[in-house]
């Protein structure tokens, strides 16, 4: 069943060169238009099935919030339409309309009424709202003495008091302490398991990858990509460094992985290889084994500064370890064309069993956002197997001592 269906959606804001033109626009009976249209969303098409979780990614100003507002129903679309099935709850801005002089309980009442709940329903829900917010006796104190975290807790608790069929979440959630963030994500996951369709806007890679089945990348109001969260996230990272309009290429590696590559090309990556201690090239490492990652690059045109970075990611795309020559204070400067670069990262492979990928980047400054010469996701994929250590779980092996006693 389709829970959300978006067809030919577009949104344009009217812009006037001066205030008098608006008056003309209102008063002139003819079809002459006195405004310009500023399109922030165009030709959007997508569907979300019931129970699915879709992540929406994009740089600031890509149109994410506008899209959420249109789906929520507060903003009207200029073209196209949105169809929703069932009860919709939106967490666009938590704590909207809380009145500082009223108690938490009164404000919770108000917020619940704003969702269209009746007094009777609210009475029934109140104990669970209080319990989830965990703000104790403060519930009967005026909201003006609440910390912002307490307000968040209460607001989230009210907004999610009833499981909606469609839940729309803006970045709002990233506020509050770690404990409550965890708790609120847990509740969202529970909703999802019970069949709630989820629409999530976030810059938080971990959030998108751990919750969403699918992601959609928006750029300049258009859908650029739709697919696996990991894959879309990589493209988004490439897009972040793509401010100068250089190319982004996606190629499929021999092993069938989709590798994203972008950059301005002053320096290019030529080879990335993994070696065992005996300098034998490999794609498999044993947990705890010494290994060496080698990166070869070539300078194509002179650059003032070069930083080389390497990142190891797990199967889900979460970064396990990352390091670069900026932080190790080994920035190369004044490189001439034709110079060759070699980077070797020797490390102890204290990794849990599973597949890992390597992302490499050549850039100036502390990260690849400022100026990016070459960036490659999934430049290399390797597997870690555990034969030398006892069995353990997780992505990393911590050298440890285990003691147990009994009397």
């Amino acid at each position: 069943m389709t829970a959300i269906s978006v067809k030919g959606l577009g949104k344009a804001y009217k812009q006037y060169n001066n205030r008098w033109l608006r008056l003309l626009d209102w008063l002139s009976p003819g079809s002459k238009q006195w405004h310009r249209l500023n399109w922030v969303l165009q030709d959007l098409e997508f569907e979300v099935q019931a129970g699915e979780a879709l992540g929406i990614i994009g740089v600031n100003g890509a149109g994410k919030s506008t899209l959420l507002k249109i789906i929520t129903g507060t903003t009207q679309a200029t073209t196209g339409q949105v169809q929703l099935q069932g009860r919709v709850a939106a967490l666009l801005e938590l704590g909207m309309g809380f009145h500082p002089d009223f108690t938490g309980r009164q404000n919770a009442m108000m917020a619940a009424q704003l969702q269209g709940l009746s007094a009777q329903e609210i009475q029934q829900l109140m104990p669970s709202i209080e319990a989830f917010a965990e703000i104790g006796p403060s519930i009967d104190a005026p909201v003006r003495i609440y910390s912002s975290g307490m307000q968040m807790r209460l607001a989230f608790s009210v907004a999610t008091a009833i499981r909606p069929d469609v839940l729309i979440v803006d970045e709002a959630l990233s506020v509050g302490d770690a404990y409550f963030q965890h708790k609120s994500f847990e509740r969202i996951r529970e909703f999802q398991k019970s069949g709630t369709t989820l629409l999530l806007v976030s810059h938080d890679k971990a959030a998108i990858q751990s919750i969403c089945n699918r992601a959609l990348l928006l750029s300049h109001g258009r859908k650029v990509m739709e697919g696996e969260p990991e894959h879309v996230m990589n493209h988004y990272n490439a897009l972040l460094s793509d401010r100068k309009g250089d190319s982004i290429q996606v190629s499929t590696t021999a092993a069938g992985h989709k590798s994203t590559q972008s950059g301005t090309g002053e320096v290019v990556i030529q080879q990335v290889q993994l070696f065992k201690q005996n300098s034998e090239a490999t794609e498999t490492l044993l947990t705890g084994e010494m290994a060496r990652l080698q990166l070869l690059a070539q300078v194509m045109s002179p650059v003032a500064e070069l930083v080389v970075g390497v990142m190891i990611k797990d199967r889900l795309g979460q970064v396990v370890f990352g390091v670069n020559t900026f932080h190790s204070q080994q920035v190369l400067t004044e490189l001439r064309a034709e110079e060759k670069i070699e980077l070797n990262l020797e490390f102890e492979a204290n990794l849990g069993p599973g597949h890992y990928s390597v992302t490499v980047a050549l850039h100036a400054g502390p990260d690849h956002v400022q100026s990016n010469y070459d960036w490659r996701d999934l430049a290399l994929v390797f597997e870690v197997v555990n034969v030398s250590k006892e069995e353990f779980v997780g992505v990393t092996w911590l050298p440890h001592t285990l003691r147990i006693q009994h009397e």
């Binding site: 804001y13 009217k14 205030r19 608006r22 008056l23 209102w26 507002k69 929520t72 129903g73 507060t74 903003t75 009207q76 919709v88 939106a90 666009l92 801005e93 909207m96 309309g97 009145h99 002089d101 009223f102 009164q106 009442m109 108000m110 009424q113 704003l114 969702q115 269209g116 709940l117 009746s118 007094a119 609210i122």
Partner: protein, 269 residues
């Protein structure tokens, strides 16, 4: 038409929110004050006192048609016009900034926006109910109770509410796009007050001005209130025809503007 019914249905579904908001509006106003609800009374009482003292005592103005033989006449005449005008002015001036004041709510929460004018009107009616109830009590105590004819207040009040909400809606929507509207109307309201025979009887005006009075849609209303409360007679319902027509037109214009520009309004806020 179907969308009208739909929004009525929506509003009904949100009745909890509407009533809750009215209650909170009332509480919020007096939450932090010691005298609380007394302030609702003090303000209009002070105004009545000022007008009574200045106009009928200090200036010894002759108010033909008002003097019916006892000392309370002018006060009753004044209250009939002033209290109802107060209700009208409160609704209209708050409606002007209704959408601007609730910008955040309109942008972030999906709820029937038609509830906002309703909340505003009910809140104003609560305040009006308190002060007007007190005035009615005064009529009983002073032996000036007009009897059954008092029920005639209801249709007059209904027309006034239509006028207020229609005008308020038009101004509220326009003010989002052209902020001059609010500024202008605040000034205009002052003139309108003094152009309406509220603190003075219509009969003091020169006779060549009299016919123009009827152009003022509020005149018919004020005259009816004064007729009922002071002269204790049935109002001339013919006088209400123009205010009624005017109000209906304003309501249509208001609803039209609102439904046509509701979407664009959110973009503009």
């Amino acid at each position: 038409m179907t969308s009208m019914l739909q929004s009525l249905h929506q509003t009904w579904r949100y009745r909890g929110f509407v009533l809750g908001s009215v209650k909170r509006d009332f509480q919020a106003k007096y939450h932090q004050s010691l005298m609380g609800v007394l302030w609702t009374l003090i303000q209009p009482l002070a105004m009545i006192l000022v007008y009574t003292l200045v106009l009928s005592q200090v200036m010894k103005t002759k108010l033909p048609g008002v003097e019916t033989g006892n000392g309370y006449s002018y006060s009753i005449f004044l209250c009939a016009g002033l209290l109802t005008w107060g209700l009208f002015a409160e609704i209209v001036s708050k409606s002007q900034t209704l959408f601007i004041d609730n910008a955040n709510l309109l942008k972030k929460v999906n709820f029937p926006s038609a509830t906002l004018p309703l909340i505003l009107m009910l809140s104003a009616l609560v305040n009006f109910g308190i002060i007007f109830g007190l005035f009615l009590l005064f009529l009983i105590i002073s032996g000036q109770w007009p009897g059954w004819v008092i029920l005639c207040l209801l249709p007059v009040l209904a027309v006034q509410l239509m006028l207020s909400i229609g005008l308020g809606l038009v101004l509220g929507v326009l003010n989002v796009f052209f902020r001059d509207v609010g500024q202008f109307f605040t000034v205009f309201l002052q003139f309108w007050f003094w152009l309406t025979p509220i603190v003075y009887p219509a009969s003091v005006l020169p006779s060549y001005l009299q016919p123009y009075l009827f152009a003022n849609p509020f005149y018919g209303l004020t005259a009816s209130y004064q007729h009922i409360l002071l002269h204790q007679q049935w109002p001339e319902f013919a006088n209400l025809a123009w205010p009624l027509l005017f109000s209906v037109l304003l309501c249509f214009l208001g609803v039209h503007l609102f439904s046509r520009h509701a979407g664009e309004m959110v973009d503009e806020l």
